[in-house]
């Protein structure tokens, strides 16, 4: 039992905006004062400190073949020693990290939940093995659907019943949490050496278009009422002029509504917010996107903020990764997977003086600043945009125009003419950045017990050495940047895991997965599954996927 005393609480979900409060914890949950016996409580003095929910990472590449190939291919990344073996595991990694390192570093920043944002379905056992090797955090994984032949087939047959049954089947088999789509149709076209360019390009064999795939999959996701909305990595990622495709994609769900969450989450939008017609005249399309997102009420995004320095691009968008390899001449790994999709990995460095990199950096911030804080989540799309350990920098930048002005001095002047960042006066409040890193991602994911401090919530709590009623983030940005890197406490499931920025305990979180199989009739797709597995897979149908008992601490969420 814990008694967190006299903290200054910011809890956007419950409308608490810097109130002095006590918080009580029992059996891993936040409870009413009356539920605990104060004598038996461990007391944490949080006087003059900020008390918030643990951070929720909704888009990061924390587990599976992509990140692991990245490690194997980049030993230079692994040469930075972060922790020597002792009470805790040895940890190495500069931007890429070992699995123990991922758990430790998130916790050391006050984050307690993280979602692997792209898991190749046939690779799901690997994804879960790695998730199981990450300490402390609660976790989940999103299998990718946008280039899976079953989806093409059921979309081309306009068979919603089968599509829904298939999605429920696939999420159960992969012990996944929701539906991810990456460059729908484009990765299949990459198998023939090309890519899709518009939402109406046809996919070989099936004749379906990205427009149809996205629309039908969103419909199915809504009909199943999955906790998380469709999570999309749009077509034309990394292509100048792509902001139009992004807005067109968003328009596909206009008119659709869900009471509890958005119906579409568009991810790492920075990479999909370019105006212009080539890398020579590229400019920011962030304002257009912000305008559109702000006026709709069913779409959210995350930033995909680049951080200057090293990064590793890794996505299921295999054709984009090849383009990046050609553009930069860097190493390139690729993995075509059965009839499911593909992936690629390319090392990368973002340089402040490089006009394109500086512009990307500016666009990420523009999106963060121009979009309402109930619609934009903080992310670097780790390790694509750079280290997640720089979230405190992003938070400080969003809150301080002065800090941005200082940073703008060191980046390419191209930003001045190609983006609106220098002219943006907006300064987000502490309340807003807490929302963007806690309650909003939890809401988008449909994780009811995450991202807030109300009674019944998981006791995932971060305490920072800032007094929200006294600090002025727009001026004291350095203090903000520092404090968020070094929580006074991180509490995960009621246990103190970090104190004064140092790890003090290693715990093991759960892996959430969603079971919607009771909502559909599996019989509808039996023969299709048999046919495709027999003909087009290299594994037997029965050997595909993950059983719950192979997962270390599974947490099944049944959809009613």
């Amino acid at each position: 039992m814990l008694w967190i005393k006299n903290g200054i609480v910011i809890d956007p979900k419950n409308g608490i905006e810097g109130e002095k409060m006590d918080i009580f914890v029992k059996e891993g949950k936040i409870v009413e004062e009356s539920e605990v016996n104060k004598e038996e409580c461990k007391v944490i003095d949080a006087s003059n400190k900020l008390v918030v929910a643990g951070g929720v990472e909704m888009h990061s590449h924390i587990a599976g073949s992509k990140i692991n190939t990245g490690r194997s291919m980049r030993p230079e990344e692994m040469r930075v020693v972060r922790n020597v073996a002792g009470k805790f595991r040895a940890v190495v990694g500069r931007v890429l990290l070992t699995a123990p390192g991922i758990g430790y570093e998130y916790a050391k920043m006050g984050y307690t939940t993280a979602v692997e944002a792209a898991s190749p379905p046939i690779g799901s056992p690997h994804t879960h093995e790695e998730l199981d090797a990450i300490p402390i955090l609660d976790k989940a994984a999103l299998p990718v659907f946008g280039n899976w032949h079953f989806v093409f087939k059921f979309v081309s047959e306009k068979d919603q019943e089968k599509l829904q049954a298939f999605i429920a089947w696939a999420i159960e088999r992969t012990k996944g949490y929701g539906v991810k789509i990456v460059n729908p149709g484009g990765v299949e076209k990459w198998m023939y050496g090309s890519n899709v360019r518009t939402l109406d390009d046809e996919v070989p064999i099936y004749g379906v278009t990205p427009r149809e795939i996205i629309t039908e999959v969103v419909k199915a996701n809504e009909a199943l009422n999955l906790p998380h909305c469709v999570h999309i990595h749009c077509n034309n990622l990394g292509v100048p002029g792509n902001y139009e495709t992004t807005i067109e994609t968003m328009k596909l769900v206009s008119g659709m509504k869900n009471e509890n969450r958005p119906v579409l989450h568009v991810t790492h939008v920075q990479f999909n917010a370019y105006a212009g017609s080539s890398w020579r005249d590229v400019s920011s399309g962030a304002e257009e996107i912000a305008k559109y997102v702000n006026k709709t009420d069913n779409i959210t995004i995350d930033m995909g903020q680049p951080i200057f320095g090293h990064a590793t691009a890794m996505t299921g968008d295999a054709p984009f990764q090849f383009t990046l390899h050609r553009l930069t001449g860097a190493r390139w790994s690729n993995k075509d997977t059965e009839i499911e999709g593909g992936a690629g990995i390319v090392p990368l460095v973002y340089l402040p003086k490089n006009p394109v990199h500086a512009l990307q950096w500016a666009i990420g911030l523009e999106l963060g600043l121009l979009i309402d804080s109930d619609k934009v989540v903080i992310s670097t799309d780790w390790p694509n945009g750079g280290p997640f350990t720089e979230y405190p920098y992003i938070m400080a930048m969003l809150m301080s125009k002065r800090m941005r002005e200082k940073e703008l001095e060191r980046v390419s002047p191209y930003v001045q003419k190609a983006s609106s960042l220098p002219a943006i006066d907006t300064e987000k409040t502490l309340y807003e950045v807490i929302k963007m890193s806690r309650s909003l991602p939890a809401k988008i994911l449909g994780m009811e017990n995450k991202g807030h401090l109300g009674v019944g919530a998981d006791a995932d709590i971060a305490i920072y050495d800032i007094n929200p009623n006294e600090v002025d983030p727009s001026v004291e940005y350095e203090l903000i940047n520092k404090a968020f890197r070094k929580p006074a406490y991180t509490i995960k499931g009621g246990e103190i895991v970090v104190k004064d920025g140092e790890l003090v305990a290693e715990t093991w979180g759960r892996t959430f997965w969603v079971d919607a199989t009771k909502k559909v009739s599996m019989e509808a797709i039996e023969s299709d599954l048999d046919e495709y597995f027999q003909n087009y897979y290299s594994v037997e149908r029965i050997n595909f996927g993950v059983d719950e008992r192979w997962v270390k601490k599974p947490a099944r969420l049944e959809v009613k």
């Binding site: 194997s72 291919m73 073996a85 040895a90 032949h149 993995k335 009839i339």
Partner: protein, 415 residues
Amino acid sequence: MENVVCTFCGSVCDDGVFENGDIRRLCALGKSKFSKKERIKAPMIDGKEVSYEEAIEKAAEILVEAKRPLLYGWASTVNEAIRLGVLIAEKVGGIYDQCASVCHAPGTLALIEEGVPGGTLGSVKNRADVVIFWGANPVEAHPRHPTRYSVMAKGLLIKDRKDRKVVVIDVRETKTAKLADIFVQIKPGYDYAIISALRAIVKGEKIEADEVGGVPVEKLYELAELMMNAKYGVIFYGLGVTQSRGRDRNVENAIKLVQQLNRKTRWIIWPMRGHYNVVGAGEVPAWEAGYQYAIDFSRGYPRFSPAEFTAVEALVRRDCDAALIVASDPAAHFPRKAVEHLKKIPVIQIDPHPNLTTLLSNVVIPSAIAGLEAEGSVYRMDGIVLRVKKLVETEYWSDVQILEKMYEVVVKRVG
């Protein structure tokens, strides 16, 4: 029981049928894995039978007391056991190394230089209209690979063997060469030169020679033409490429060729990995410690240095003062000087079957056979994880049980 997963070669066929102690559908190599073979009877310390607990206690003591133990093998056990091996290596400040260091590690070095443009076996089965085996002989080493995935396999775009051109490049006419449409016999040690020539042709340059590595240039032009006209091609390379002159540079060069080909059409390249879980022996340490092999923990954090922390080199230099050998037989395969040092230091062996290493081991711990008597996850050669099954009951402890217990004792002793 159907859909049994074979734990012999890197093909990890998952369609075996196990009935009354008999296995069907697997190849002869796979079947041998399931047939009765000589077993290590009981745990032993210096030849004397003891309980599992005593043997494990002794093993842990040896590892903890050693300054720099070598933990080697791992290619023929499950991921869960490998993970424990890495954890123990970290705890005792030893060296983790695995079988790849004497076979496919050059491929890992090439990955570090150039990445690897690859795909799963299912992609090959469905799409590849040109398949090249380079210094690889699946008919003998991975007998069902050709039928299940690569040569005769049918899929989405490949309806028939006729839809696919198969090329074998090797120094001698192997059994696999007999399946090929085109066999290119090359002079030993000329892989690099031939790959360079192909790269040049694909780039549009002219070759100013009559032959390269024993192959007439016309034949190379034909081959390059075939490659450029493929819709989706794959190069499977074997030990003939990684263990001949050039080693990692051969693979690197081949990867550059594939990069080049992708500017015109689609190509992938992938190694033909040997043991059923040699891939896992690299993947697991990669996520736990950042590297695939040759990992030294003596400073409390992982350091990677092939040629320094690989088992053979460490033994030859007499750097290790104890060894834990899991699911492997270095005494039969390592150079004499390395084996001589093994004979001088305390050795712990975990294995289902006696082998040459058993003879020089001080502590021998028999284990259950993964895929027959114990379950767990393994990586097929293309990085796809399959779950091997437990089909029969046994008195033997599994590798996971043994290593779990050993880890527990090590933690207690190290503190």
